[in-house]
Amino acid sequence: MNHLISIEDLERADIERIVSQAERFAEVSDREIKTLPTLRGRMVLNLFYESSTRTRSSFELAAKRLSADVVNFAASGSSVEKGESLKDTVLTLSAHKPDAIVLRTPWAGAAELVSRWCSAAIVNAGDGKHEHPTQALLDVYTLRRRLGAIDGASIWIVGDVAHSRVARSNVLAFQRMGASVTVAGPPTLIPRGIEALGCDVRYTLDELHTADIVYALRMQHERMSEMWVPSIREYAAWYQINGRRLSPHQILMHPGPVNRGVELSGEVVDSPQAVITAQVEAGVVVRMAVLYELLAGNRESRPPARPAPAGGRPGEDTAAGTPTPEPVAGGRLA
């Protein structure tokens, strides 16, 4: 794997490999010294065009646990606000020769585009309403820790599917892992044509009891002002996961941050059925596994690494004996 852009690009075996690696990293997290030297001398660049404290710090922590150098670049207050294009920003930052760029943007397909413009490994940390693959991987990891396998499980994803990159990545990832997926929510927030992803569609929660896992999506307040639903009150009345709707055998998930009293009632958030905190914990080890997969597991197919910080001299990159870099555009597996 050269990049992590979309769950669509992953086979089941890829997902299992990453999740298993994350499990090995989890053992380390319980030790007193949590840091591994695996990516020493490598640089991970966080390039975020949307405000995101949770995902960004999760990536930052993951990189640091692997001893990588981390640079955070937020679009606000930077050259981006002065009108620099995404391409120019990426080309400029590439001059620092990052080994990986973790990218979040409000635009679908941006991670894929950036992967064509530079030689760093690209990790998609959310591209518009398209995908958020590390969220899906950490959700698979969380379920595997809890249930073992999810083959044959029924998973309902409930809420604002139209505006959710989490929903799209998870529909694909859960299906890859053998589960069947149903998306449910108000008809205004279920995109026309979503069945093409292989999921079922419901507009009520009448059959929610058939689910093994209930995955609630965040309901954003601005959706009300845009009139996607008449009111939060009516949304909660029809789609809130609460003690009445959640069956005792079901596992409850949520990508965070939770709006208590909107998509989830307080009682279910705090119930032992909820694995929401476990999801957050999983974020770091799964992102460690992703960085490991991209930067450590497959060295020979990547462009040459920067020389070790201690002995690095200008010009050493081109010295004889350095592996031949592959073409910038040629990286991604079809």
């Binding site: 294009s85 995404l86 391409k87 943007t105 409000p106 635009w107 679908a108 397909g109 941006a110 894929e112 585009l113 591209d127 518009g128 309403k129 398209h130 995908e131 990159r165 799209r168 995109p191 026309r192 044509g193 979503i194 069945e195 093409a196 992803l197």
Partner: protein, 462 residues
């Protein structure tokens, strides 16, 4: 009411040319055979059996009025090259004034000539908007100097394309406006369009309509369907177009106005046009090569060259458009040539501006995608690619003795890849770039002058 010649531009001097043993195809004239054809002083003067006309040297002066002073140029068709009436494009964006970094009158009409077009109609969504007589006068002056093929102009229906106040349509008509359009935007208010239709009784001129209900298309960047759902990109439903087509056809019927519907993209719009024509309402419609050849599946990779309004729809919509074009429900082909600078398109899909260039690839793409597989006859394609002129009350390009030479010479066997040797257009955002196309325009005569001559022609003639 138009007091001025509506098309301006084109090169000088008029051509003196002998096309020997070319296969002439002009479905309207009923010609489909090998001929020798002579153009003198820019007019078609002889049409004879193949191999019977000889080139005249400059000294053999049979030309009237001192024309034909130079030696006549000779093109050998070897019975293989096709000579067609040149194409007419009723919908292009030449980006002048204000956006000359995308295209200008010279580069845009150079692209038109390279694509076999002898005339084009330019849209008014420029900066400033073409909505006043002084601006139209200056643009026509510029076109007279710079345009390689004649250009007609459609000023705006409403001032600044704002949809609130009619332009001075009567004066604009006197200054040569072919008609009016708010292209790039719909006339959202039915009441405003009705006033324009009423005013049309005074000034004439076709009202050319970009159909889009913004309350339905808002937030969308591609066709609403399986692909947009999978990609998480806001969808534009086909009803954003078709409901407006139906509304405006009814308004035209009520006011007995003349309207033309631009760039149809879906089956429901074809149905609406068919219904309007069945009522006897004075409507016509155009379709673009990309809507005839591409679908939402081509947008999957989020190539911004595939982003245009209306968006590429489903295979069923594409089939309905082909059927509509064949049946005549859709009257003509238009390219909606919409150049954008590389840096404007080299951005994430949702940020990119709408539009694809099309002039240089229209014939080759349609020949490759529709004629070669037997979906559309070549003669019908030629008919539909020339039909736009009559919709704007202009003479149709034709192969007839005495007619001005508006001719396109094509090699139907030539295979090429658009963009491999660059573009005549200033922009390269073409949805057919990098595809292998068969059928290449070798020479274009527009208003009597040689507007385009391919390098390959010298070798063919040798």
């Amino acid at each position: 009411m138009s007091a001025t010649e509506p098309l301006v531009g084109g090169l000088q001097p008029p051509a003196d040319l002998l096309l020997r043993d070319v296969h002439v195809l002009d479905p309207r004239a009923g010609i489909d055979a090998r001929h020798d054809l002579r153009v003198r002083a820019g007019r078609i003067v002889e049409l004879a059996e193949p191999g019977t006309l000889d080139a005249e040297s400059g000294s053999l002066d049979g030309a009237p009025d001192g024309a034909g002073q130079g030696a006549e140029e000779l093109v050998e068709g070897a019975g293989r090259l096709r000579l067609l009436p040149a194409f007419f494009d009723p919908h292009v964006h030449l980006r002048t004034p204000g956006q000359e970094h995308k295209e200008d009158l010279e580069t845009g009409t150079r692209a038109a000539a390279a694509g076999g077009f002898c005339a084009v109609i330019a849209m008014p969504n420029t900066d400033p908007v073409l909505d006043s007589a002084p601006l139209l006068r200056s643009l026509r002056d510029a076109a007279a100097r710079e345009a390689r093929v004649p250009v007609g102009f459609l000023p705006a229906i409403t001032r600044g394309l704002a949809g609130e106040q009619l332009t001075e349509m009567a004066e604009l008509r006197q200054e040569g406006a072919l008609g009016f359009t708010d292209d790039g935007r719909p006339v959202h208010s039915a009441g405003m369009l009705r006033k324009a239709l009423q005013y049309q009784r005074l000034c004439g001129g076709v009202l050319s309509l970009h159909e889009e209900d913004p309350t339905l298309s808002r937030g969308g960047a591609m066709h609403e369907g399986a692909v947009s759902a999978a990609l998480g990109i806001g969808g534009i439903p086909t009803v954003a177009e078709s409901t407006m087509v139906a509304r405006d056809a009814a308004l035209a019927g009520y006011e007995d106005g003349r309207v033309h519907f631009q760039h149809l993209s879906c089956a429901a719009s074809v149905d609406a046009i068919a219904a309007a024509k069945a009522h006897g309402w004075r409507v016509s419609a155009e379709v673009c090569p990309h809507h005839l050849l591409l679908t939402e599946q081509d947008v999957r990779e989020l190539d911004t060259r595939m982003k245009m309004y209306p968006p590429l729809a489903t295979e069923a919509d594409r089939q309905a458009l082909i059927d509509g074009l064949r049946a005549g429900t859709i009257d003509c082909v238009a390219t909606d040539h919409a150049p954008h600078a590389r840096n404007e398109k080299e951005v994430p899909f949702e940020q990119a501006p709408m539009g694809s260039t099309g002039l240089e690839t229209a014939f080759a793409a349609l020949h490759t995608g529709l004629v070669l597989p037997g979906i559309l006859e070549l003669s019908l394609l030629v008919e539909r690619m020339t039909a736009g002129a009559a919709l704007y009350e202009l003479p149709t390009p034709t192969v007839a003795l005495g007619a001005p030479a508006n001719l396109t010479l094509v090699d139907l066997d030539a295979v090429w890849v658009p963009g491999e040797h660059g573009w005549e257009s200033r922009s390269e955002n073409c949805c057919f770039a990098d595809r292998r196309l068969q059928g290449r325009v070798l020479m274009t005569l527009a208003a009597g002058a040689i507007a385009h001559c391919d390098r390959a022609l010298a070798m063919v003639g040798a």
